[in-house]
Assembly symmetry: C2
Homo-oligomer: 314 residues x 2
């Protein structure tokens, strides 16, 4: 099975390392081979740790050139139009090349369009890594079949949750943001995390998959944490409460917004960069929590998709 | 696909109802048919809601007579020797008849023996319902492949957790037990819950499956909640702590025992009949919580196994 990796940053490198590490001990991975790695600098043919491009070609040309069985997209999201990933997925899926992605933008923007192509050809899409990285979210739903989901609710962005936690513990917003950057929990430009955009992209993907919606990022309201004052957080604390950025969808509402919640709410206890997802279906309510980001975690999310694909379970 | 149901108590009835309810709307279930239901009173051929036996035969004879594709064991556990279920599984699996079970005893007593037969013939075993009913535990591991698990930890028995919670809230042990019985959270004879046996059976199954152990129920120490005094629970409370019955396994230790835990421990917040499971693997720690029992939940656990079987993903 030939893979074409798209993107070779921290996640791409972690994925390559993990695949090499596991290939010898897990027979199911034995015939998996990285046939090429594509970055904005071009395509490197074959599987080497240190990237150096062999050809200056686009992702669409790289699909022709490598003719992989699977493309694994670990490139940074482009929320303007999802390109070049959207076109790459459409091209790949229409040729029955499977797609595994940790890149949220294409599915948050064009979920139905992409899945329609996959359904037509029978190609599969693994996208566990787009929501909560390696902590089962998308794939959790695969093992909870034939039960209608009436509500999902979660803390889906680690950066904002870390900042809210540290303000609760006494820092100012600016101190908390600075610390988050130092620890690698916030990007140099943290806008898309702070304004709720990242959580909204994840909620879009979850709602479409778990609740069978046909929604696009931008079609519902989302709010981040930038308008919350330190005083509001302190006041909530003095009343035994916390402010959390909650992603929420039921059959009527879909939104991302800061909520004041108390200790009777399981999400109250999700602090720091941890993420959590609550799924209420007609049978039961379950809650999963775990890391929501990190190169090794996202890489593991993609690797679990690869194993499920090989098992015929995507 | 022909099913032979074994046991037709609350879980069996809930399973039949759920299957009928879902069969029309989910194509994957359309060809599933209940070909017979076996209880201690005999075999009823076909699929009727009200049980009346057509034949006085054993489960082994019923397998010959019905020749099912799957047996679904929802009978009560017999912890003496796991019979007649153990023999039924061996016979079924050796003929490549799949097994789905919510009955803990056979797998807690003869895990390796049963799996060896399945591996030889390629028959599958679904056993999500043996641990935490419909809340993903066994099946959660199926979507977290190729990562070594170093530790599992959980609250796996709802009856004892309910009683501990109510004592913490002010009741005496006897009041809490009485209330648990009234609410259907404790059986008339609650011994196997109270003495840690039920949690130990679940931990045995989890350790064997998730940590690749070869352990039998009885080979490790377990302790229940009967020796905990109300005073100990109150004292822990006055120190901001709770006593919980914790099932624990790492590469050296396997045990069920009451533990004093504080608010920094995610299991501290699991109250009442809720269950939770923490899995630490080489990549990450995840925690899932949800109902641990209940006829509809156990039935759903079995139904999810059936769907995964039909998808080729058991």
């Amino acid at each position: 099975m030939k893979l074409l990796l798209i993107g070779y940053g921290n996640v791409g490198k972690a994925f390559r390392r993990l695949l090499h590490e596991k290939r010898d001990s897990y027979p199911i991975l034995q015939n998996v081979e990285i046939a090429g790695i594509l970055t904005r600098q071009g395509l490197m043919v074959g599987d080497k740790e240190n990237f150096s491009p062999d050809k200056q070609i686009t992702v669409l040309e790289a699909i022709d050139f490598i003719n992989p069985d699977v493309i694994v997209d670990m490139s940074a999201p482009n929320y303007k139009d999802g390109e070049p990933s959207v076109s790459a997925y459409i091209k790949a899926l229409s040729r029955k090349i499977h797609v595994i992605t940790v890149n949220k933008a294409p599915l948050a923007l064009k979920f139905r369009e992409i899945f329609e192509v996959a359904e037509r050809t029978g190609a599969k899409i693994g996208f566990q890594g787009t929501v909560m990285s390696g902590t089962p979210s998308i794939n959790l739903f695969r093992i909870q079949p034939v039960a209608e989901v009436s509500r999902i609710r979660g803390i889906l962005n680690g950066t904002t949750n870390y900042i809210l936690t540290r303000i609760y513990e006494g820092l100012s917003f600016n101190e908390a943001l600075k610390e988050a950057k130092e620890k690698g929990y916030a990007e140099e430009d943290p806008t898309l995390d702070l304004n709720g955009f990242d959580a909204a992209a994840k909620l879009t993907i979850l709602s479409n998959f778990i609740m069978n919606r046909s929604i696009r990022l931008g079609e519902f309201k989302f709010k981040g944490i930038t308008e919350i004052s330190n005083e509001e957080i302190r006041r909530a604390k003095s009343e035994g409460k916390k402010i959390k950025l909650i992603a929420y969808a039921d059959n009527y509402i879909i939104q991302v917004s800061p909520q004041i919640i108390g200790p009777q709410d399981p999400l109250y206890y999700i602090d720091g960069v941890e993420n959590a997802l609550e799924i209420q279906n007609e049978i039961q309510r379950i809650i999963i929590r775990g890391p929501g980001a990190g190169p090794a975690n996202a890489a593991y999310g993609a690797l679990t998709d690869l194993v499920l694909l090989l098992e015929g379970c995507l």
